[in-house]
């Protein structure tokens, strides 16, 4: 398989993730979209690793997965905390950054 194919596939996944982050109002969806993007990156790593015959890419994927797990855990904890506090997880509700 040409490596371009894998990259294209990763690109599509990443695009989906970006769109999810940009357009979904529900924080849960945003988090899931982030997972999508991380996986797109993983795909690139693994493909590159295979292509270059270098196993460092796989190691990197290992770390990315770990970080993703942490991120998901903390992110979801925050979702719970937010829901408890404000009763909603719609992102447009949270506008603390307003100038």
């Amino acid at each position: 398989m040409p490596i371009e194919y894998y990259f294209s596939l990763a690109l599509v996944m990443f695009l989906c993730g970006v769109c999810g982050v940009l357009f979904r109002r529900n924080i849960l969806f945003v988090l899931m979209s982030i997972e999508l993007m991380l996986n797109a990156v993983n795909l690139v790593f693994v493909s590159g690793s295979t292509f270059l015959k270098n196993l460092d890419g796989q190691i990197m994927v290992f770390f990315v997965i770990t970080v993703a797990a942490c991120e998901a855990a903390v992110g979801l904890a925050m979702v719970i905390a937010l829901f408890r506090r404000y009763g909603t997880i719609k992102s447009e509700f949270f506008r603390i950054l307003r100038g």
Binding site: V21, L22, S91, E92, F94, L97, R98, G99
Partner: protein
């Protein structure tokens, strides 16, 4: 070595009294008297060593004071005949007044602070007199100003006293400003501030370039501004009458005998500059003459005994300045000497009167005190006769010398002489008026005061007696030559100083008239005229006032109401200064503060800050706080960047 002792004793006295603050009045008094008295005793041998024929002055360096760049100013002192004379005046009369002050301040709870200031004053005055360069003199110059400030405001709980002190300091500072500029000019031109070096440079010049002459004139005028401040000349005399708020010994010591003569001393010290700057001296002469006259007219109608004496001091200082102005520095110093004696006596006498009357100073409430204060009256009478120039007393010789030297000044001399003569008449008038209103006629004070009237203690009258003797006899040191010949004596004073005061070679052409011979007849007639006029004026005053303020006088007062009011209000000079200097300055400051500082500079900055805040408010509309919006912008921007890079 003695010179260090002379300086040390008063300083030790000041520090002892100032830091340890002995509670006991007698102790602090003794410390102070010892401080200045020992200094006087140390000064005596110093002076005696100068008496020998051709004894030269000596310079003593204590330590290098300021050294920066090419500038090297030493803490150096000069002992020569001029500073020797001043030394004796300061410590001698100072001692007498210190003794007297113990009696005068007897009602105070503690006097340590007072005597500390007084000793400090003596120390500063000695620095002024002994300093061998302008800067050391300037320490003393401002130092005596400080002591004067502190002593005028000694009774500080009465606000006007403190205000008077401050006025004295500030007006003096204006004069000092001129002095300072003079110092700078001197240094710029000669690269040195030392009197002996300056003298060497200037005495070595055969002739002067026009640039040098104009420079010297500028220096002379600037330094004279300083002298105007310290010696209370027009237009900076205004502080001296107010300075009478201080205790009377202070008025006697500082504001009559010593400090106020600093200007005359300084000009005499720098005679070699003034001799080479005749136009500056011309200004000096006219300012002196005008001051003598101006102050004397004001003194004619004042009712406060110390105020009269204050204006009299201003007027007498005018004489001395006039003497300097016509190149008769020795005559100026001679008058300084005699004036120190009789004016100190007058002030101390007035002080005795004031103490006896429980601090009343208005002459309208006095009168007839001759009966109660016989000794005071006697010495006061001597002093009055001395100051009005009664033949044979000290003032007669010194004043006559000045008038004669003024008259013999070529060109405008007769104008100056007329000014002096008129001032002398006024002096005779107001002094006799003062004498009459105080001591003769009926007593006008209230019953209670009269009941307690008695002669002052011996600690107060003893110094007065000494001063009275001095006032009578000290004049014989400087008998005019023609009189001396007539009486087979000789003038001791001028030749004594002539080793110090000499016309530099470059100025000899201009000042050649100093050695001109005048006919004795002219001198006799002038002396006779001035003496007669003064005595006439004095008898006129005696006739008018011997019974105190009478209805007749009241009528005259009303007849000349406008003149009287002008004089009584001192020509409204204070008000004038307030109107044209103080108030505009204050208003300008107010304007600068409110409008420029708060309004323009600070306001401008605030406007800048506020407009930035406003701008940020305007531009923050896109800061909706919506995370998505931010993410969208972020992604679009990122994509834009990437596209930009890869295109």
């Amino acid at each position: 070595m003695l010179i260090w002792l002379v300086l040390l004793f008063p300083l030790v006295g000041a520090v002892w009294n100032g830091l340890l603050l002995p509670r006991h009045k007698l102790l602090s008094h003794s410390i102070a008297v010892a401080g200045v008295g020992l200094s006087f005793l140390a000064a005596l041998p110093l002076f005696v060593s100068l008496l020998g024929e051709g004894a030269a002055g000596s310079v003593h360096l204590a330590f290098s004071w300021i050294q920066a760049g090419d500038l090297d100013i030493g803490m150096e002192f000069v002992v020569d005949r001029l500073s020797g004379v001043m030394l004796l005046i300061v410590t001698g009369i100072g001692s007498l007044i210190h003794i007297y002050a113990g009696g005068y301040m007897n009602e105070e709870k503690t006097t340590a602070r007072f005597f500390s200031y007084l000793n400090l004053f003596i120390f500063m005055m000695l620095l002024l007199v002994l300093g061998n360069n302008m800067l050391v003199m300037f320490i003393g110059w401002e130092g005596v100003g400080l002591c004067s400030y502190l002593l005028i405001g000694y009774w500080y709980t009465h606000k006007p006293n403190a205000v008077a002190g401050m006025k004295a300091f500030v007006v003096n500072r204006i004069g000092d400003f001129g002095f300072l500029i003079g110092i700078f000019l001197t240094y710029k031109m000669f690269g040195t501030l030392s009197f002996s070096q300056l003298h060497e440079v200037l005495a070595g010049q055969e002739s002067l370039s026009p640039a040098l002459t104009s420079g010297l004139t500028a220096i002379g005028i600037c330094l004279f501004i300083g002298a105007c401040g310290k010696s209370a000349q027009l237009p900076l005399y205004v502080w001296l009458p107010d300075a009478m708020a201080g205790p009377t010994p202070v008025s006697a010591l500082i504001h009559a005998a010593t400090m106020v003569t600093a200007g005359i001393y300084m000009m005499t010290r720098l005679h070699f500059i003034y001799y080479l700057a005749p136009s500056a001296l011309m200004l000096v002469a006219f300012v002196g003459g005008a001051t003598a006259l101006f102050a004397a007219t004001i003194a004619l109608v004042q009712n406060d005994i110390k105020k009269v004496l204050a204006y009299s001091t201003v007027s007498q200082l005018g004489y001395m300045v006039l003497a300097c102005g016509v190149g008769a520095f020795d005559a100026g110093v001679f008058h300084l000497l005699t004036h120190a004696c009789f004016k100190a006596l007058l002030f101390l006498g007035a002080g005795s009167v004031i103490v006896a009357l429980h601090h009343k100073q208005d002459m309208q409430e006095m009168g007839g005190l001759k009966k109660y204060l016989p000794i005071t009256h006697a010495v006061f009478l001597v002093a009055v006769l001395a100051i009005i120039g009664f033949p044979g007393l000290s003032g007669f010789f010194s004043k006559d010398e000045i008038l004669w030297r003024a008259f013999s000044f070529p060109g405008v001399g007769w104008v100056l002489w007329l000014m002096g003569l008129f001032a002398a008449m006024c002096t005779a008038f107001y002094m006799v008026r003062l004498l009459c209103l105080t001591f003769y006629g009926k007593n006008r004070s209230d019953e209670h005061t009269r009941h307690h009237l008695h002669e002052t203690s011996s600690v107060m009258w003893a110094p007065l007696v000494v001063l009275a003797f001095l006032s009578i006899f000290i004049g014989y040191l400087g008998i005019p030559p023609f009189l001396a010949e007539a009486f087979h004596g000789s003038n001791l004073f001028s030749p004594f100083l002539s080793s110090v005061i000499q016309v530099p070679p470059a100025g000899e052409v201009y000042w050649s008239f100093l050695h001109e011979h005048h006919s004795e007849a002219l001198e006799w007639s002038l002396m006779g005229a001035s003496t007669l006029l003064a005595l006439g004026s004095a008898s006129f005053a005696f006739i008018l006032y011997r019974n105190g303020p009478t209805p007749f006088l009241q009528e005259r007062k009303e007849a000349f109401a406008s003149v009287y009011r002008t004089l009584y209000n001192k020509y409204w000079v204070d008000e004038l200064y307030d109107r044209i200097i103080v108030r505009p300055l204050k208003e300008m400051s107010e304007f600068l503060w409110r409008v420029v500082d708060l309004g323009i500079i600070n306001g401008g900055l605030n406007v800048l800050g506020q407009s930035l805040m406003f701008l940020s408010g305007v531009t923050s509309f896109q800061m909706t706080g919506s995370l998505h919006r931010y993410a969208v912008v972020f992604i679009l921007g990122l994509m834009g960047l990437v596209v930009l890079v890869i295109v």
